[in-house]
């Protein structure tokens, strides 16, 4: 088994691209160039949210989010109750039919997003937090510390993420928490490189030099001066990592490295029911659609934030 944490996009690093999402940049059309108006991050977010793409993304995320949170209350059956014949068609007693063990697909769908959600959030959060820590420290300290940290990241980066997770899961045993943490750790090198790249110009900028020249404590400089300067790439990175985490964790569950079987989980459902794909597509396709909605929603939001950032800050 194998995983695909790649999920299509290099989860890896983008030394140059600045952020993982493709950015479209539009040059400021006028030579006046003095765009007034605040530059606070909230405004980036709110501007991003105003694009149709982001609205679609948010709508998708909201729909999936509601399903995940409220779903269990509306599920007609217990998620692991065997209440019918295997692979019954949709309709009648079972709105979406039954799975290969004769469990209600709808109920499993409604229960099956919670684990994926918290695992993805934990993984992305951990990856972004640690990556940010490493990236900013490397960028700020420079010199030997920078070289050391970044080469250490290179070492980690050299393990394709899926293999990294497989290796450690087989070393430490399977558990949802471990899988989420491992996916998060696998994100660290990528995030740290992006964050270091984003932080370097900020750290070289004159207001940070001013703070250094006045002997402000490094921690304060990093947290109060540098961090606000990299929130935009940070937001983009968080969004994209969330998407990849969803993909990766769903893939791991599909391969049996995530949640233990009787529990309902979207990735696991795909794996369990794929044998019956040709006669009962719903138990496979329905969770795929939900995973896709979740990932696509996150992706759309992250992309439009990235684009708004590109447009307003002229970064590419």
């Amino acid at each position: 088994m194998t995983t695909d944490q790649t999920a299509g996009l290099p989860p890896s690093e983008n030394p140059v691209i600045g952020g993982p999402a493709p950015l479209d940049t539009v040059a400021a059309p006028l030579d006046t160039g003095t765009a007034a108006g605040g530059r606070s991050n909230l405004s980036v977010l709110s501007r991003a949210v105003r694009t149709g793409q982001a609205r679609l993304g948010l709508a998708l995320l909201a729909a999936v989010g509601l399903l995940v949170v409220l779903g269990p209350f509306f599920a007609p059956y217990a998620p692991d109750a065997i209440i019918g014949q295997p692979l019954e068609g949709p309709g009648g007693k079972f709105l979406l039919g039954t799975d290969i063990l004769g469990r209600d697909v709808l109920s499993r769908l409604l229960h099956g997003g919670l684990n994926l959600s918290w695992m993805a959030i934990l993984a992305a959060g951990l990856g972004v937090f640690l990556g940010c820590l490493v990236g900013l420290t490397a960028a700020y300290k420079g010199g030997a510390v920078d070289a050391l940290l970044m080469r250490a990241m290179d070492v980690l980066l050299s393990f394709p993420e899926i293999i990294f997770v497989l290796l450690f899961v087989s070393m430490l045993g399977r558990s949802t928490l471990l899988t989420a943490v491992l996916v998060g750790v696998a994100f660290v090198p990528g995030v740290s490189r992006v964050m270091r790249g984003a932080a370097l110009p900020v750290i070289g900028s004159e207001y940070v030099l001013w703070a250094k020249a006045n002997g402000l404590p490094p921690k304060q400089i990093l947290v109060r001066e540098v961090l606000p300067g990299v929130t935009s790439p940070l937001m983009v990175e968080t969004g994209m990592r969330l998407v990849w985490a969803v993909s990766a964790i769903a893939s791991l569950s599909y391969l049996g490295f995530g949640i233990a079987p009787p529990a309902a989980d979207w990735g696991l459902m795909v794996g369990e029911n794929q044998d019956g794909l040709s006669i009962a597509p719903l138990p496979v396709l329905a969770p795929i659609v939900l995973i896709l909605m979740m990932a696509l929603g996150g992706n759309l939001v992250a992309e439009s934030v990235a684009r708004t950032v590109g447009r307003t800050e002229g970064k590419r």
Binding site: G8, V16, P22, F159
Partner: protein
Amino acid sequence: MSQLTTRMRIRHRGSPPGPKNATIPWLVRRLLVGVLVLFLVSVLLFLVTQALPGDVARIILGKDATAEQVAGLRQQLGLDQPLLGQYWHWLSGVLSGQMGTSLENGEPVGDIVGPRMFNSFTLGFMSLVLILPLAVIVGVFSAYKRDSALDKAFVAVSSLFTALPAFVVGMLLIAFFATSVLGVLPGVSNIPPGDLPWWHPAELVLPVTTLTLMGVMYLGRLVRASFIDAMNSEYVQTAILKGLGSRRILFRHALPNAVAASLPAASLVAAVTITGVVVVEYVYSYPGLGTAVVSAVNSHDLPVMQACILILATAYYLFNLLADVFAALGRSR
């Protein structure tokens, strides 16, 4: 003066210092660091695989074996030596091409891994050969027809693929082309041992398509963005003001720069494609490094596992390094 130079700290920020002659030493230094990184990769890999649960000798011999038998085997395998010695033995083996023998069936690891590496790299290479030009064509066309229905469709589809796990893509492609709907292509891509992959073109179609789709959707987006950037650049404005024809502006002025700007990303896509074969191989049962590493992890075959992962990690790292180099060269311009 000499006193000064000794006191001056060399600051290495990871980018070439000067535009011209300094690039070569920088490159050499970067490669040396690369060797160091690969060395550390091998250390980490060795430690992690050694830490896998279970006594290898016990796993081989089974529970019926006596303590003496286990001890004897441990000695034969060198497991009784200190970790450092074991590592050195392994590393010197790897460097001289002797990667030991499989714990599973006693075959030399080279015999198992060699052909599979060739299969994997063939798959990755063929995909790359398709990805690179296709991504450029799609990206440029989409950027050129910016905001047209086609462009929007491409952007939407690429977002979709970005969010789609590879196993889903593979599964759906199999269902559509091989098993359920059309039935025109083989659903598994078994390359018989001893055969070269391209003797079985039909078997290669779906795995190559999967990798290519994912790669083109990602890289095409980046090419599109850099092409839009290039078209908005000052030098394109200069070219327009020089009165050049739009074809020349497009192909001689914007395209090379857009492609150059996408090179680092392309290297990363290459890295991901080479290692992405792991997933795709599993989905299509293609006999490559990916299936080998999964099976070795499942059966605890340390030498095979170590060899496969080392190869994949090296390839991955080299492409990442290439991306760094391209990025740095780009910056130095």
